[in-house]
Structure formats: C-alpha cells, structure tokens
Amino acid sequence: MRPAPAAALLFGLAAAALLARHTASVAALAAVLLVVCLRAPVSRRWPYLIGSLGSASALFVLTPFVERLPGTVFWSGPTIPVVGTLDVTSTELSGALFNACRLAAVSLAFSAYALWLDHDRLVQAAGFARRSVLAVALATRLVPALERDAAGLVEALRGRGVEPEGIRGRARLLSPLLAGSLERSLSLAEAMEARGFGRPDATRLPQPRWGLREPLALAGAALAVVVGVLWL
C-alpha cells in the first residue's frame, strides 16, 4: 500500500482511540496496532515497543496516586503535605487503565508509522507540505539514530572498562546524545543545502498511480473516526 493512505489509516485508528469512550474498545484498537508492530523485525521494533508500552504502563501506575476520585478503596497510604492522603480506588484504576490504553494505542500507531511506512514515498506524495513532511520523516529517523548513538556511547565507555549501571548511569548519556543529534542535524542540513534543498524551482520524481487498496485505506480511516465518535 502507498504510504499516504496507510498514514491516514493509522491516523484514523489513533483518532478513534482518542475519541472512543469504552476501555474495551480502546484496548482492542491498541491490540490491533500492537500486532502490526510485532510483525516488524525484532531489532527495529523493540525501542518503539518499550517506549509505547513503557509510557502506557507508567501512566497506569502513576495515575491513581495523583488523582482523587471516589470508589472502593483498594489501598490507603500515608498523608503527604500538599498532595493529601495517597489512596487507590476502583474509579482511579479504571480511569488509569482507560488512559493507558489510549496512550498505548496512539503511540503504537506512531510506532507502526515509523516501522512500516516508506517515508521517502510519503515525502514525495506530500504536495504543498513537502518540507514539513520531510522534517517529520527525518525526525522519525531520529529514534533509530539515537539508539545507534547510545549504543556507541556505551561501547566507548565499556572500551574504557566502565559499565554504565542503573538508571542514573544511563541517564548521564542523555545530554551527550542530545548534543550529538544536534551536531548531526547540522551536518545533514549543510549537506541538504549543498544539494539545492529549498530552491523555488524544485520538481519531483513522478509518482505511480493509486490502486484499489489506497482509496479503501482512506475510507477505512474516515470510518474509524466516525465509528470512534459514535459507537466505540
């Protein structure tokens, strides 16, 4: 399938997950998107899955402690100044599960976009927004690039006999990673400018025509949004 309709379909599924009101519906959408992501090669999919499922899990765990909703109290903890008494209620848990499923569905939709779509074709299919789409495509490549950089920094540390240990040890890599990605983005920007990027007379490689699957995907995207609003 061509990437623009596929991106629209993923966007439709993410929108449906945001619009739906029932936890089971959102969880089903997240499960479908998880299956799509699991079909990607292991070496590529794991940072996306850790990011998506990790952030959703964190949301599920933390939400009951910061919300104060009535319901059956499952656990009651100490009283903390400003925050008040910590407790976990049935309403808080169900709300946390709902929001975690939502976050998982949206981030898995992005993961599927990053893992499966041909970003080159997406850029080429973009009309007036080509520069913006190119920026998004390049940003999408940031995740695997950061992963490679992080592996390189860890390797250089291990080459000096130092093992980065624990969250604190790995957190110290964040700042050099960010600075490194900024340096690389400058190099890329320079290379793009040297190759004429930004000229007003730019043309583009002709695109093949759409088949049957492309309009079906667009229809599916619209349907997902409508169903999300009305029935899910």
Partner: protein, 454 residues
C-alpha cells in the same frame, strides 16, 4: 579560463579569533583535478565549502575577499542556488543521506535543482550505473556497506552533472581497494565530462598519482600551488611525510613478552546471522604492536572487539591477561563530561592527575578545562586516545585511529605507540603506510575470514 576562482579569500568561523583561511587566491580550470593537502585544521574543508557557497552562507563568520563560480559571486548566490553547478561529496556519507531508499537519495538533488520530472529517474539510474551501483537502486540506504554508501553518494553528486566537483576526504572510511576504485572512478568521470575537481585527502599517495595539480594549505595560507610533478619535489623537501610511506619511527622488535590476549578459533555472527568471523585465531604479546588490515566487511572491528572483551565469541575461546581498552572509530563518543580531563578520567575512577598525564602524552597539555565538544576534530581524536591510554592497559586496541588524520599526526601517533612497550597493541587500520610504519607484525583479514600473518 578559470571556472571557479577565489581572490584574497580570508575567513574565520563565528566565535573564532583565528582565521581558517588567510588571503587565499586560487583558480580552478575545467577538466583539471586539483588535490588540496594540509594538516588537520589547515583549512582544506573550509576552502571546499567556500567554493560550494556554504562558507559563509551556512556557517556564518567573517568573510573577506571574493569567490566566483561560473561567473556567480558566492556572496550573492547561496549554496542552494549554486547546487548543480557545483556538487560536494562530504567525508561521512551517513551525515549526508536524506532519504531511506537509494534511488530517492540520488534523485533528491535532481529534484531540488528543477530537473524535468520525466528525466529524474533516468538520470538517477544513469548516475548509479556510472559508479557501478545500478543494482542498488531499490535497496534501503541503511542496508548498504560503507563502500556502497559512498558510491551512492558519489552517484548523487554526479547525477547533477556539476561543472565543479568537490570531494572532501571521500575515501577516509574505505579500504585501499575501495578508495582506489572510488577515486579512479570519480576522476575518470570528471575528466570525461570536463569537470573541474577539487579533492581533499589525508592519504595522499594515491591522489598524487591521479591529480594534475597540488595545493598545500598551512594554517589557512596557501603555501604551494603547482603541477603534481613539481609538488612531489616540494613536498619531499618541506613535508616529507606527505610523500613517504609513514616515516621512520624506530626499530621494529622481534622478541616480545608474555601473551596478554589469545583468541583461539573464535567465530562470531551478528543478529542477522551473517557469520563475520569463522575460526579465527590471534595471539598478542606484551611489547608487540600488531596491525590488523583487510577490506571493508572482513571482520576487523569484530575481531578487535573480541580481543578487547567488548564481544564474546559464539564459539572458540578468548583468554585475556590484565586490562584491555578499546578506542572506537568515532571520537565523537568521548564527550560525556564537561571538561577534557574529567572525560579522560572516566576510565581511571576520576583520577584527574592520571588524566592530565594522558592528555600531556597526546599533546593536549593545557586543554584540561576545555569542553570536549569545543575541541577541533584533531584534538577530539587525541582526547579519545588519551581516554584509552589513561588506564595504562595491558592490551590497547585502536580501531581506525588514523581516519581523517594528516600524515604528520599519523607519524606522531606511531611514535607515541612505539614509545611504550609495556603493553600489547592491536591497531585496526585501512592505512597500509601507517600499518607498515607502526607495526611489528601485520595480520591481514580477508573477506573469506582467513587470517594471514606477515
């Protein structure tokens, strides 16, 4: 008649008080291949960027003098406007790739310069064919080897049919065979089309055989400009290391101490199950310097990582005695701390005195308080070397330590390594001259994974 000309060009990067170029005047003629030589930081890349319009438009800074390309003044015409007339192949191909598929990558420049849409694919494929890479057109860029990627990037520049081709150390990541093939190809195509070529290189032996004219930059000044025949004699007199095979760095030893690392029948395959090493054996003794050479993809880095303990073999056995340190190919990985001495002290439990000694050993005394990212590329390489020397390892493994390093710095590095015979040293390198200069023994790793000891 010159196609491109710099007149009294001086330039300093923003925030720098030292000019990168000082009063440089040079003209480039169609069909002529000009090699620009010089030490790291001498202004070679800056000169190339000035002809591409990237200096001053992309980098900013203080610019005086004049650069003209095909009658266009680069002060009034930016790099995007000059693209097509000039094309640049940069040192690191991974930093210039925009798209994920090869054909789209080659087509990118053609699209930008307004090539009629119906011609783009044919011209991109023709450019790929001209560099022998037509079969790669449908491949993902991420799947290509270093040599294949550099060929694709060369195709992307040649597709524009530029009148001036700028090659900024295009072979620094290639093995000698790959470097020779790429340079011969680029220069043959340029000559056939009457393209002016300005080529910067740190391994000058091969380019000196292929070029017509040589420029030498020294601290931003043009100190030599003449035909290649005269250049050889001038270089022998003023910069002999640029034309010699590594220089004399002392006696090569033949008797060494105990074994510090022994690899016995090791095999290794990465996640994609491609067998990189198969039943390889190597012994490294205290006091010995071994150079590991071989083509791209032959498994040199994997063998080095196994020796240093960064990887564990899937079969076979590695015995190590004492501590091993490993210098990565990329000096940009030694930038974790805010000060140079703190960075070097990472491997010695924060011992700043040991870090200062290591910095002094690599010529960075007085740079302790500087941020690693503020160092020049040559200084960063030395910082990285200091970081792996500071722990005083029993086995020192250096992976491509001469990439982008000028001949005079290579000579210093060889002398530094040979000065300490208390450790075993394994040097992975594509640089045959450096290998001959530094090593007591050269081990060649072939693509069929056979180790040949010389």
């Amino acid at each position: 008649m010159a196609l491109a000309r710099a007149e009294s060009l001086s330039f300093a990067y923003p925030g720098s008080t030292v000019p990168a170029l000082r009063d440089v005047s040079v003209g480039l003629t169609p069909g002529e291949v000009t090699l620009v030589l010089g030490c790291s930081g001498s202004g070679k890349s800056t000169l190339l960027r000035a002809f591409a319009g990237l200096v001053p438009h992309f980098h900013g800074g203080r610019f005086s003098g004049r650069v003209e390309l095909a009658g266009l003044d680069t002060r009034r015409h930016g790099p995007a406007q000059l693209a097509g007339t000039v094309a640049t192949l940069f040192q690191d191909p991974e930093d210039q790739v925009v798209f994920t598929r090869v054909l789209n990558e080659v087509a990118f420049g053609l699209e930008n310069v307004g090539t009629p849409p119906q011609e783009i694919e044919a011209r991109a494929l023709a450019a790929l064919a001209s560099v022998g890479a037509e079969h790669l057109s449908g491949r993902l860029v991420a799947e290509l080897s270093g040599g294949e990627l550099q060929r694709v990037c060369l195709a992307a520049t040649l597709a524009l049919e530029p009148r001036l081709l700028l090659l900024d150390e295009p072979t620094s990541q290639l093995d000698p065979e790959g470097a020779k093939a790429l340079l011969e190809l680029a220069l043959r195509l340029a000559r056939e089309r009457g393209t002016a070529v300005l080529l910067s290189e740190q391994r000058p032996a091969l380019p000196l055989e292929l070029c017509d004219r040589v420029l030498l930059l020294d601290d931003g000044r043009l100190t030599f400009d003449g035909p290649v025949g005269r250049a050889r004699a001038w270089l022998e007199e003023h910069h002999p290391l640029f034309v010699s095979a590594g220089g004399d760095v002392g006696v090569h030893l033949h008797h060494f101490g105990e074994v510090t690392s022994r690899l016995d029948g090791v095999s290794y395959a990465y996640e994609d199950h491609l067998l990189v090493l198969d039943d390889a054996s190597l012994e490294l003794r205290r006091g010995e310097i071994v150079a590991l050479v071989g083509p791209n993809g032959s498994g040199k880095t994997t063998l080095a990582k196994l020796a240093a303990g960064l990887l564990e073999p899937q079969s076979g056995r590695v015995d190590r005695r004492g501590r091993a340190t490993y210098l990565s190919q990329d000096p940009g990985r030694y930038v974790l701390r805010e000060r140079a001495d703190e960075e070097v002290s990472v491997g010695v439990h924060g011992d700043l005195a040991a870090a200062s000694r290591a910095l002094a050993a690599v010529g960075l005394a007085g740079h302790e308080a500087r941020h690693p990212r503020d160092l020049s590329s040559g200084e960063r390489e030395r910082l990285a070397l200091a970081a792996v020397l500071a722990p005083e390892p029993d086995l020192l493994v250096l992976d491509e330590p001469t990439r982008g390093v000028d001949p005079e710095r290579k000579h210093e590095l060889a002398a530094l390594l040979r000065a300490n015979r208390r450790r075993a040293t394994l040097v992975v390198t594509h640089d045959e001259a450096f290998a001959r200069a530094v090593a007591d023994r050269i081990v060649s790793l072939a693509l069929d994974r056979e180790l040949v000891h010389a």
